[in-house]
Symmetry: C2
Subunit: 109 residues, 2 copies
Amino acid sequence: MQSQLDSSFSALSDPTRRAVIERLVNGPASVSDLASPHDMALPTFMRHLKVLEDSGLVRSVKKGRVRTCHIEAAPLMELQGWLEWQRRVWDQRLDRLSTLAEKINRNTS
Amino acid sequence: MQSQLDSSFSALSDPTRRAVIERLVNGPASVSDLASPHDMALPTFMRHLKVLEDSGLVRSVKKGRVRTCHIEAAPLMELQGWLEWQRRVWDQRLDRLSTLAEKINRNTS
C-alpha cells in the first residue's frame, strides 16, 4: 500500500505538478486558470491534476461549471517535516564532527 | 530531461529508499549494513540503492571489497528549499487572509 509520503513525493516528481502547487500556495484557482500557462492538451493536464488529487495534495470543488482547486496543507507539511527531520539529524552529525575535530586539534597542537 | 528536483522527489517516493536516507544522515554506511534491516533479496535492495545514486542523493566509494555509501547534502537541501518556499508563500497568504478578516470584523462591529 502506498503511504501518504510515497504518493506526495511521487506526485511532486514532475515539473507541471510542482508548478500547479507553486500556483495554488498563492490561493485557490480554477482548472482553466491552472491549465492556461501549460503548453499541453487539456486531457494531459487533467491527468497531472488527477495525480495531485489522488495524492491528497490538492482538492477541488465544482460549483456550477467551474471546478476550483486548492491546496491541502497537511500532506505538504508532512513532507516538509520528514525533510526537516533528516536535515536536523544531518546537522547534529556535522556538529559532532566539528567538536571532534576541535578536540583532535587541541590534542595535537 | 529529468531535473534534479524531479529525480530527487521520485527517488524518495519509496519507503525503502527513505529508510536508507534516514540511516545515512547519521553517517556513512556499508552496503551490507544498509541492506540488513530490509527484508528483501540483495538484488532488489541494490536496485533501490541505484535509484538513490542515479538521483545524486547518495554517493558510494569502493575500498577493497567494501562499498561505503554517504549522503550528498546539496540535492536534499534543494528539496527542502523548494518545500520551504511553498510553505512561506502559503503562510504569507494566511497572514493576508487573517489581516483581511480583522479589517472586516472592525468594519462590521
